[in-house]
Symmetry: C2
Subunit: 115 residues, 2 copies
């Protein structure tokens, strides 16, 4: 099955997950296409100065893969500077947030898989 790029929708979310600012998101798979194994596989664009709010995963785990940009990732109780190529894993029961501290979008892949 091939989904061509020009058929994918790019959606804006304000103050994502209780954060602030703006996140644009291209869903690469629909929940149905995930066949019950996960609920998100997306290419995200977190705008400069924007934050995805701190939240806890329950019943699933999430992987971020940073494609470009710079920010601060909250990994439970610690803060980590992150940039291109870093892999950020938040397991079931753990919490995370991401703040864009640079002057360009943070582009990242996000994948949520059920536990």
């Amino acid at each position: 099955m091939v989904k061509k790029f020009n058929t994918l929708e790019r959606v804006k979310r304000l103050d994502p997950i209780g954060g602030k600012g703006e996140l644009e998101s291209i869903a690469l798979l629909s929940p149905e296409e995930f066949k019950g194994k996960g609920r998100m596989f997306a290419h995200n664009f977190l705008k400069p100065g924007s934050t995805i709010g701190l939240h806890t995963h329950k019943g699933d785990f999430e992987i971020y893969y940073i494609l470009s940009g710079e920010g601060i990732f909250v990994d439970n109780d610690r803060e980590v500077q992150v940039s291109k190529g870093d892999v950020l894993i938040t397991y079931d029961g753990e919490s995370h947030s991401l703040k864009n501290t640079g002057d360009k979008d943070i582009e990242f892949l996000a994948c949520i898989i059920y536990s």
Copy 2:
């Protein structure tokens, strides 16, 4: 959990899966880190002229997300030109291959999830 880019290993594979040429692969998750839900999440670089051989998925499904480059994807019994932003899904029981027809690497994310 944060895995910094400079700690990730980039591995070369010749004639990948019965194909020809060279694939470089950075594993973003180890099988253990996938918690039994999948077996690969990787950033791949398929060299110009190289091909990942045609193979059938059994017991899992795979998603490719093209980051850059151009090629021909075999999606079961049809050939599709693919490029940046395209999403290629091969479900359990289906077959695929990928050939780089351009003059630069095809960079793509590959994720294999158990059915």
